[in-house]
């Protein structure tokens, strides 16, 4: 997976990260320590102390803006073939209208990174798996392309690679004949950065997406989740999703 292919990158980042952290700790321990505690050094196993999550505010999600989708495609090298029915989409914009009231809103849909992911339950080989920190991934080495996970996912979050691929990103390996979905930009998260979609949304000053550790009571996402009412999509399924929505 990405950890292996990008190991040098990680090592570099880890070393520079450690150097910065060491310098930072010497100067202002209280401030800096809190920030680096999120990241996972490349030589350490992922733990369940962290639960990565995302809070999406539909009220701030601008109609007509597609920046999160574009950023995701660029970051992960998702170049389409102009065939929307078979091209991969890890994140998509959905526009909703209330049948009763006519109220309209838009929001991005992506893998909800469930605590109890149906895709992981049904996968015959265990290629669909959940990291201890809550990120749901596909191991492309043991995915046989049966697509049972796609049948099982309540969010239509997964795509099957229907044709040959070009211009892959080294940190986001993909494979024809296997299934894939949003990785929460695991390669960025592991080096202390936020997913590309969140970064793009923030850069545009829409701030509709917040990413962080839901287990850390001091994180921005935890504070917002505590402060505002939010909900999961299909809460009836009790999947305890990692992606939460405000204003739906």
């Amino acid at each position: 997976m990405s950890e292996e292919s990008g190991i040098d990158v990680y090592r570099r980042r880890f070393l520079s990260g450690t150097a910065k952290a060491a310098a930072g700790m010497a100067v202002a321990p209280g401030v800096f320590l809190h920030e680096v505690a999120h990241g996972k050094p490349a030589d350490q196993a992922v733990t369940s102390d962290v639960r990565w999550g995302m809070l999406i505010d539909s009220g701030k999600c601008a109609d007509g803006c597609n920046d999160c989708v574009t950023a995701c495609n660029t970051e992960n090298g998702l170049t389409g073939h102009g065939r929307p029915a078979t091209d991969a989409q890890w994140i998509r914009k959905v526009k909703l209208k209330d049948k009763q009231t006519g109220y309209t809103q838009t929001l991005p849909m992506l893998c909800q990174h469930c605590e109890h992911p149906p895709c992981v339950d049904v996968c015959p080989t265990g290629a669909s798996f959940k990291r201890p920190d809550g990120i749901v991934l596909v191991d492309k080495h043991i995915c046989i392309g049966c697509r049972y996970c796609m049948l099982a996912c309540p969010y239509k979050a997964r795509s099957f690679i229907h044709e040959d691929l070009q211009d892959q990103m080294p940190y986001a390996p993909r494979g024809k004949g296997t299934v894939e979905s949003c990785t929460f930009c695991v390669h960025r998260v592991d080096s202390d950065r936020t997913p590309a979609c969140v970064e793009a949304c923030t850069a545009e000053n829409h701030n509709a997406m917040v990413f962080g550790d839901m287990n850390d009571p001091d994180s921005e996402i935890s504070r917002q989740l505590k402060q505002y009412n939010s909900r999961q999509i299909r809460p009836d399924l009790q999947l305890n999703t990692g992606v939460r929505y405000r204003g739906i």
């Binding site: 065939r83 959905v94 909703l96 209208k97 339950d121």
Partner: protein, 405 residues
């Protein structure tokens, strides 16, 4: 009852011509599979909305029918009905060959069929699919042993225990196949416990229809006598099974109709789902269930030709039923936002999934049936599966054709 004489079917040119004629379809299927794998699945009708297509319809049909084909042997060994005993070997053979045909289609449609070994070495025991891999391979092994017990005189005493094991195994296997859909919480059309028993009764019907057709075909082709007693007995049983499938279909839809959350999907399948609605009422219920019932229990039920046609219609109805379940069930949009309507999405949210079967998919599916048939024909050529005669006086002297009809 006299001791039955089992013989291989004759070889020679007619045999090779038959094998060649069916084999052409197997070769075509291999070509179709290669074409789909080489180009990727975009050349099929399948997409990110309808992820399982025509190959899965054929594969699931064959797998379900395989367990059902074993019924005839079970009736003989487990329920001790002497009349079915001469048919038990063919029943076991068909059970294995149909399963092989179905699995071949399933595997050749995988995104990475070259990773079959991965599917056999990495298991996620929470997955019903992983369980099925073991149930399917175990089934072939157990039925092979069961056949050995039946065919080797010294082993005959163990036939009953082997038959009983195979019977329990096949019920478990079909439960597993039905649960592929029964265990899916995400989709409105699935997630129903009735799927497992419904698949079992479907297997009774599809498997027996294929069994009768193959039996009549092989006896006619090899010029061996096949009496009315057996044919009438089997066709009456098929009629009961067809009616039982209809009952389960009715129970499934009525239960769904009671819950408001399922009104949408029921309306889709039963009323305004276009091709799926037509497939359900016209093909599955009309010409695939009611018409065969009429043929089997009406005056036409005395004619071999009409019995054969009724079996063929049952098979077509069965394929339609699985088409409606698999593809209709996926085509209905998932309810992610109850009370809201999706007015824009680049990923086809909230709209009926579109799927048009492509030729390669269809050729692959037909190839699965052809593989099962050609393996059956070769099996009967190399081993003694078929009694020389199934004339009425050979089968059961206490049964006249008139009684059975």
């Amino acid at each position: 009852m006299k001791a039955l004489d089992y013989r291989e079917i004759d070889g020679g040119l007619p045999f090779y011509m038959l094998v060649g004629a069916i084999g052409v379809f197997v070769l075509a299927a291999l070509g179709a599979a290669f074409y789909m794998e080489h180009n990727g699945h975009w050349v099929t009708g399948m997409n990110n909305q309808i992820v399982w297509g025509t190959p899965h319809v054929f594969a699931v049909f064959l797998i379900v029918a395989a367990s059902g084909a074993l019924n005839v042997a079970s009736i003989s060994s487990v329920f001790s009905k002497a009349m079915y005993k001469p048919l038990a070997r063919l029943s076991g053979l068909l059970a294995i060959t149909l399963l092989v045909g179905g699995l071949a289609v399933l595997v050749l449609d995988l995104g990475r069929p070259d990773r079959l070994i991965v599917a056999m070495t990495y298991y996620n025991f929470k997955s019903i699919f992983a369980w099925n891999i073991m149930l399917y391979t175990g089934f072939m092994g157990i039925v092979a042993i069961y056949l050995w017990m039946m065919m080797e005189r010294k082993m005959n005493q163990y036939t009953k225990i082997a038959g009983f094991t195979a019977f329990i195994w096949r019920l478990t296997l079909t439960t597993g196949t039905g649960s592929i859909f029964g265990f899916l919480v995400a989709r409105q059309a699935y997630d129903a416990a009735i799927m497992a028993p419904m698949f079992i009764i479907m297997s009774f019907s599809f498997g027996l229809a294929i069994f009768i057709l193959v039996l009549m075909g092989l006896y006619r082709w090899s010029n061996r006598p096949l009496g009315d007693a057996i044919v009438y007995r089997l066709k009456n049983l098929l009629g009961v099974f067809i009616a039982a499938v209809l009952y389960f279909v009715m129970a499934y839809h009525l239960t769904n109709l009671y819950a408001a959350e399922n009104h949408g999907v029921e309306r889709f399948i039963l009323m305004d789902g276009g091709v799926y609605t037509q497939m359900f009422w016209i093909v599955q219920v009309g010409i695939g269930s009611l018409l065969p019932l009429l043929l089997l229990f009406g005056p036409a039920g005395k004619s071999r030709l009409w019995i054969g046609i009724a079996c063929l219609l049952t098979i077509i109805g069965g394929l339609a039923q699985i088409y409606v379940i698999i593809i209709g069930g996926q085509a209905y949009p998932m309810e992610m936002f109850p009370g809201k309507e999706v007015i824009e999405s680049s990923f086809f949210d909230g709209v009926v999934g579109s799927y048009t079967p492509s030729l390669p998919e269809f050729v692959l599916g037909i190839g699965g049936i052809a593989l099962a048939l050609v393996a059956t024909v070769i099996g009967t050529r190399v081993l003694r599966f078929l009694p020389v005669s199934l004339a009425d006086d050979q089968v059961d002297p206490h049964h006249s054709a008139a009684d059975a009809a």
